[in-house]
């Protein structure tokens, strides 16, 4: 289970809506508890995909390295990655799967016509052949 606190959630949604109609991306920091991962901070990162960004994103490894370092320094963990699907459902696409990493939770936010619509979290496997849906809690206000 992954739980996202109000502050982190607000950062993610605002970022996704601001970057629309492109896909946004970023890192989620927090703590791993006994039965849930708690995200307390979201860090928007640059979408460095070289082509059209309305349906693709790419994270710069340097940015991810920096996010991991920052988490480390503040006693937090890099829990996962979030990105948006503009005008598209929050599913884990083949493109998402083939470019994923099994170490993290992947939260996908569906942004419809510029507004947040729904979200899901996924756990990809080691061979990038399947992703399991992860139970997710966020402040539905």
């Amino acid at each position: 289970m992954i739980e996202i606190d109000a502050k982190a959630w607000q950062t993610m949604v605002l970022h996704a809506e601001r970057i629309y109609p492109s896909e946004c991306c970023g890192a989620m920091l927090g703590k791993t508890g006994a039965d849930a991962k708690l995200v307390t901070e979201a860090v928007p990162l640059e979408n460095s995909y070289a082509g059209a960004q309305h349906d693709r994103y790419e994270l710069k490894p340097e940015d991810l390295l920096a996010a991991d370092r920052e988490a480390r320094e503040r006693g937090l963990e890099l829990i996962g990655i979030f990105h948006s699907h503009p005008d598209c459902d929050a599913y884990f696409s083949e493109t998402d799967l083939k470019n994923s990493c099994p170490w993290y939770s992947f939260v996908v936010l569906s942004i419809q016509k510029g507004k947040f619509d729904h979200a899901n979290s996924f756990l990809p496997d080691m061979d990038q052949t399947a992703a399991e849906r992860e139970e997710m809690k966020w402040p539905k206000s």
Binding site: Y57, E58, E77, C88, W103
Partner: protein, 477 residues
Amino acid sequence: MAKILIPTALRQFTEQSDAVEVSGGTVAEALGALTERYPSIKKNLFSDQGKLRSFVNVYVNDEDIRYLDKVETKLEGNETISIVPSIAGGSAVLEEQTAALTNDEIARFSRHLILPEVGMQGQTKLKNAKVAMIGAGGLGAPLGLYLAAAGVGRIGLVDFDVVDVSNLQRQVIHGTKDIGRKKLDSAADRMQDINPNVRIDKFDTGLTSGNALEILKDYDIVVDGTDNFPTRYLVNDACVLLKKPNVYGSIFRFEGQATVFAYEDGPCYRCLYPEPPPPGLVPSCAEGGVLGILPGVIGVIQATEAVKIILGIGDTLKGRLLLYDALGMKFRELKLRRDKECPVCGDRPSVKELIDYQQFCGVMPMSEPVVSSGVIDAVELKEKIDRGDKFVLLDVREPHEYQIAKIPGSILIPLGDLGKRMGELDKDADIVAQCKSGGRSAKAVDLLKQNGFRNVRNMTGGITAWSEKVDPSVPKY
């Protein structure tokens, strides 16, 4: 000692250490030392083949080792090594990955692989090629067999017909055991038997203006094995609109044609034939007959062209109409040019979407009733004969068809001779015109009525209906 920073997600494998000191002269040795100390981390970093997983990037200080000497990058002993996953994604549909040849396939296609014009590269192109075949009949038979055998990876079959005994004289993809089966199933079984690796998409439908673009859009090449003008124009227009090459073939009696339309800057079918022939002028194979071997020759030429286009070798038939005459055993060629005024592929096209091709070709819908007072069916004809009515049963088929089967008491005047032999008939007589299935006799009825014959009727269904409904001892052909 180099220091390896452990990403938070992997600290569960390093007893929660966030950094591990290791020794090693290269990155490979340092990572080897890490996995030796913490074996359970290994599968997160390396595949079963021992390669770094595709999502794992390794940085030495701030440099990505991909731009250094990869895992052989030398270490002095005071570096910081970071493990960073590469992450991307998006809602975009992933471009299909090129599938490589398996060892079984390398063995199977060895005679292709040793041709330098094909080789591994060409055979891989074939494996990744997608060809749509319209029709699994006369032309579709050799096409399906050879395209599957050649290693074309994905073949879409479009056909709605069922195997009939009269198909087997030429449609060699089907067998006697397949009579009554869907041609799709029968053809797919045979193709899969030849090459189990071929993926066959079955479309159990006729190609229509409503479904053509949707069906054909996923394929690289379209091969037309159809036998009628509306579908031919439909395939042509769909290929031009989708910018896909149309490998064309047609057959009639002892002659065939083949070319490649809508390929690169070449012409399309409408550049050659802007207008369809009047309905009925050009008989179909069912009406006019066809030498069974003929579609074999033409279909194999089409298969050759499709394979050449996939491989990008040789000169295709683009801009050349190949004519084959089986009786004279001659091949001839006509030059074709793209027509700048062509309504589909010209410089200012007027046809920008698919139209109603039945209407374009002047084909009446099957359900259109012929003037009902002017028809008689097989059972009514039998009753008429049994009553002893005095009338003329006029058979308008060809003499060789008359030899195969006839209805007792009929007289033969082939449709083509009717104009000059009309005088043999009495204008006031009760006449019933009959042919194989009712098409030619309807034309005979029209012709006679225009010439003052007052009492002429068409026998619907022809001798085929007679054989089915009245006298099964009369053979169907």
